[in-house]
Amino acid sequence: MLNYIIRRVLYAIPILIGVNLITFTLFFVVNTPDDMARMQLGIKRVTPEAIAKWKQERGYDKPLMFSSSDEGFAKLTNTIFFEKSAAMFAFRFGRADDGRDIAYEIKSRMVPSLAIALPVFLLGLGVYIVFALIMVFFRATYVDFWGVVLCVALMSISSLFYIIAGQFLISKLWHLVPISGYGQGLDAAKFLVLPVIIGVISGAGANTRWYRTLFLEEMGKDYVRTARAKGLPESIVLFGHVLRNAMIPILTGAVVVIPLLFLGSLIAESFFGIPGLGSYTIDAINSQDFAVVRAMVFLGSLLYIVGLILTDISYTLVDPRIRLE
């Protein structure tokens, strides 16, 4: 397994370089270093000298990807792309365009992001599986029919609607929890109730249907019939046998997102005032802060690759027949 993991880690390097290259190209197609300087220096009374100085200080005065004036290897290394990308692989994210330390920001914002994403993930997984199994248990009855209808209805509604409706009903009309905000330590709990509930509900439709499909597929298999023939109660058949055998597709979807939970949610964090990494990314895009965008995309790609490796490892845990070679 170790060889397999080492090989996957090595595969990740060209992928990360590619992601960096694409991010870099896309970003600089839309924003020039001059645009970035203007964004940081403000709209009023910005002189060309100030822009030149800003670019020079941050290394944005160099050629983007190829320096024709340099010799040899420096043609590639004395460029914005190389200088800004190489440090990423050593996890040196540098400073945001407004001068603030990106690593510090990521560290401090990871906890609030996780504070929402982790409960939503765990609670959601449990709730979706239970609901899917109930629907499977009552398959071809009114419970299953209306359950599917409800799932389709839930899937059809935008997540923004859940947020606004949730804030309106639970916070504004019923005054049960704060509309938005975040606190330190245990104080954070009252702010997390609503986003977690909304997070779970907004994902319920698609996930429950998906799990229902998986379970229904398993229900037709021989081992289920054998289990029933032995007289096992349906709850044992569902939770003990069907669920266990449907774990591989569930894990494929679930484990891969675990590392990405650190990155938070773009919309929910914005609406609920959670100072997480999702809102950090949104702010960076709005302020054309390439340093932060690049760091977050890099981190996202890296975590995704980690997620995929973890998924592979998790297969071996739930299915002893699988070997990673």
Partner: protein
């Protein structure tokens, strides 16, 4: 997945013995049946416990310990980029910086037109003019005679900086934290981690030090370009500092400290401990307004020395994150992702509430605190609120003390009386919310690029035709309608570039733009569209067709990328041009490309705006001054308009004191502008603010930002209202729970029935199938 290899067939996980699975079946069903009401019981117990535990409203986003305290609650949408006074220039930043830094001057809180008064200065600056030989000139000397101006500013003795570790000294009198070893730095993560703080008296040297910082090579002061034209020697000073910095960087590396005290600046020097002088090239009367901005607030050299230590910047411990001032408040918590907290500066030198204002201020209760010591509020908490919906709802719940009004909530908040006056709706009145309105010192306009051959014209005849075309469009685009539809009436159609409340602006009949309006029944009335059509025909486009080619007239409107919500306003704009049979093509682009087009002169018609820096007509009229044009000069004249007579008059007007002579020149300049119509004058936005009943001493003031010290909060009333408005409503949750439980009962019954008959059913099925 290539690497995953199946090594043996998948078996059903039937490892549990049959007996173990079947025997407890009944018990399990029994437990399942009981579990539901038990859950309900638990929930009710938890809910009751919660109700008992929370004495206040459940949805209170603030800690219980803050209840009843003299705290002002506000919100901010965008995190401030800079809190260093030399770099900060945005309106969201000055909300914070103006409360912390104290420049020598400030605006009178109540008086209008805006009046400068001393802040940390002991009196208003002494302004003296000199010729090239250094001979003192009389105050009425001609501009050409004046070689330089001296501003002598005396500050009040006894003012002290807020407590800060930069001032902390040991028993030997050495600074504790000016040479931090790396070992000590390891335990420092924020400014509060320094256990010792101290203060010292403010001196004139601190003001001079800040002026020097405008030229610091590692700082980007947005006003350096402007100030280097005026403050004697500032440009050369910047060169000196740059050379010194580069030399130091080579010798000592990136963390070298550039000590500005070693480099004197000719244009700023101290006279004595409490007096300093600023030398201005020529005459620049507007300099006094800059003295009321944080750019000229004092910064102690100790702060610069402290923050420039190796390792602190990496931890965001710098002046941009932790400001240091002498003002009424100090920033005690800076988490711009979540909250920024200002608390009373214990060393504030003291100031009293103004005892005079405008007629009506007394009646409005604005003079009730006359002579009372400032500030009234102990603490200010600004929470980050990115989205308008939660911000608005929290205001209605009493968790923010004031709010602006978004277009979504406008109808909910404001209604217009029969006389067209805006008031709050009945629902707002019931909550005791009141509305304050003020016309902003800014202007939103639509500009024509005068370099464009169609709207700017080429040759004498072409320019004349283009002028008539611009005038025709000025009449056709109905800004009264625009303000009514798209700004909910929150704006005043502009008659020229100068905003109301600024010297040079004229009201009434003499203030109207005769190119666009007639004075009818005591009010301006837009000219009929026929007048515009006539002008269009004279411009060579009868009925919107080019008289020479017969082709329809097509104009291009450059706008920044907008969402779907702006589609209606763009459609409306097309409709306005269609009145003249002109086809308006909207060229939509992102803001970067838009700015690029404006800089290169590639736009034809565009929208832009301007917020005044200070209450002087020069700050508006320079936007159309020839040498300020964007193309070639990178100035602020986006229309690239240049009229020799206007430019001459501007040169004369800019240095004059307000008075009839200056007004006469301004009138002539405005007449030229109206005639040439390089802009559609657009409108001056009107700002609407909503305030709760417990919020006192509010007078809208766009130019002075250090207003928090004047505000007053009735914390008792706020707590009472919050409790009243935010009583938890539990019945929907309980009803929902009951419905959920009720809906589960048939399922449980079916489950039990199935489980009992499972073996038989399965067997039957198997037999039947076989």
């Amino acid at each position: 997945m290539k690497a995953a290899v199946f090594t043996e067939p998948l078996k059903p996980s039937s490892l549990s013995p049959l007996a173990r699975a079947t025997v407890p079946l009944h018990d399990r069903i029994h437990e399942t049946g009981r579990a539901i009401p038990r859950c309900l019981e638990y929930l009710l117990v938890i809910l009751t416990a919660l109700m008992c535990a929370c004495s206040g409203p459940w949805n209170n986003p603030y800690p219980e310990s803050d209840t009843g305290k003299n705290i002002l609650y506000g919100a901010f949408a965008e995190r401030p980029k800079h809190l260093d006074p030399v770099q900060s220039y945005s309106s969201n930043e000055i909300l914070i910086t103006a409360q912390i830094y104290e420049p020598p001057l400030q605006y009178h809180y109540l008086k209008r037109p805006y009046e400068l008064i001393p802040a940390s200065a002991a009196k208003m600056p002494i302004v003296e003019y000199f010729d090239e030989k250094g001979t003192r000139l009389p105050d009425n000397a001609r501009d050409e005679q004046i070689a330089y101006t001296i501003y002598e500013i005396s500050i009040m003795p006894g003012i002290r900086f807020q407590p800060h570790p930069a001032f902390a000294k040991d028993q030997q009198g050495e600074f504790l934290y000016h040479r931090l070893p790396e070992k000590e730095l390891a335990d420092i993560h924020k400014l509060g981690d320094f256990p010792h703080t101290d203060s010292r008296e403010l001196t004139a040297e601190d003001y001079v030090f800040q002026i020097k910082r405008l030229a610091h090579p590692r700082l980007h002061s947005p006003i350096f370009g402007l100030m280097s034209d005026y403050i004697a020697g500032l440009k050369e000073y910047a060169e000196t500092l740059r050379a010194a910095d580069e030399a130091q960087l080579k010798e000592q590396g990136r963390d070298a400290y550039l000590d500005l005290n070693n480099y004197p600046l000719a244009g700023a020097e101290t006279v004595d401990r409490y007096t300093y002088r600023v030398k201005i090239n020529g005459k620049y009367p507007q300099f006094k307004y800059w003295l009321a901005m944080p750019f000229f607030a004092p910064i102690p050299w100790e702060a610069e020395r402290f923050y420039n230590q190796k390792g602190l910047a990496e931890k965001n411990i710098n002046l941009d994150w932790y400001p240091l001032g002498t003002g009424p408040y100090m920033l005690t918590e800076n988490d711009p992702n979540r909250v920024m907290v200002l608390e009373k500066n214990p060393n504030f030198h003291g100031e009293t509430y103004p005892s005079e204002g405008m007629p009506g201020d007394g009646q409005a209760g604005l003079l009730g605190d006359a002579g009372a010591p400032l500030p009234f509020i102990d603490k200010v908490i600004y929470s980050r609120e990115r989205e308008s919906i939660p911000r608005w709802n929290k205001f209605l719940q009493g968790y923010y003390d004031a709010s602006n009004i978004g277009s979504d909530s406008f109808d909910q908040a404001v209604q217009l009386t029969g006389q067209g006056e805006a008031t709050v709706t009945e629902a707002m009145q019931e909550q005791g919310i009141r509305l304050e309105t003020a016309v902003a010192t800014s202007t939103n306009y639509m500009g024509f690029n005068m370099l464009d051959p169609v709207v700017g014209g080429v040759g004498k005849q072409g320019r004349e035709a283009a002028r008539k075309l611009r005038q025709a469009i000025s009449i056709a685009v109905d800004y009264e309608e625009y303000v009514s539809i798209f700004a909910n009436g929150r704006g005043v159609p502009a008659q020229g570039p100068i905003a109301p409340g600024i010297a040079g602006h004229r009201e009434g009949k003499e203030g109207i733009n005769p190119v666009v309006y007639d004075w009818v029944d005591g009010r301006p009335r837009r000219k009929p569209i026929e007048a515009a059509r006539k002008l269009l025909a004279e411009a060579g486009y009868p009925d919107g067709m080019d008289a020479k080619t017969g082709a329809p007239l097509v104009l291009y409107f450059d706008v920044t990328t907008r969402g779907t919500e702006d589609k209606s306003s763009l459609d409306w704009m097309r409709k306005q041009f269609r009145k003249l049979n002109i086809q308006l093509v909207v060229r939509n682009t992102d803001y970067n490309r838009f700015q690029d087009k404006i800089r290169k002169g590639n736009a034809q018609i565009f929208e832009w705006g301007w917020n005044a820096d200070y209450p002087d007509p020069e700050n508006f009229l320079f936007l159309l001054y020839g040498p300020q044009r964007k193309v070639g000069n990178e100035g602020e004249n986006a229309a690239n308009y240049s009229n020799p007579e206007y430019n001459r008059l501007f040169d004369r007007m800019k240095n004059m004191e307000n008075g009839p002579k200056r007004q006469q020149i301004i009138d002539r300049m405005i007449t030229i502008l109206r005639h040439d119509s390089p802009w559609l004058w657009g409108y001056h936005p009107k700002e609407y603010g909503l305030y709760h009943a417990w919020y006192g001493n509010i007078k809208a003031n766009r130019l002075s930002n250090n207003n928090v010290k004047y505000f007053r909060i009735d914390a008792g009333m706020r707590e009472q209202k919050r409790s009243e408005w935010n009583k938890p409503v539990l019945w929907p949750a309980i009803a929902g729970l009951i419905v959920l439980v009720a809906s589960m009962i048939p399922a449980v019954v079916v489950y039990r029935r199935r489980e009992r008959g499972a073996g038989i059913t399965s067997t039957t099925t198997e037999i039947h199938m076989s």
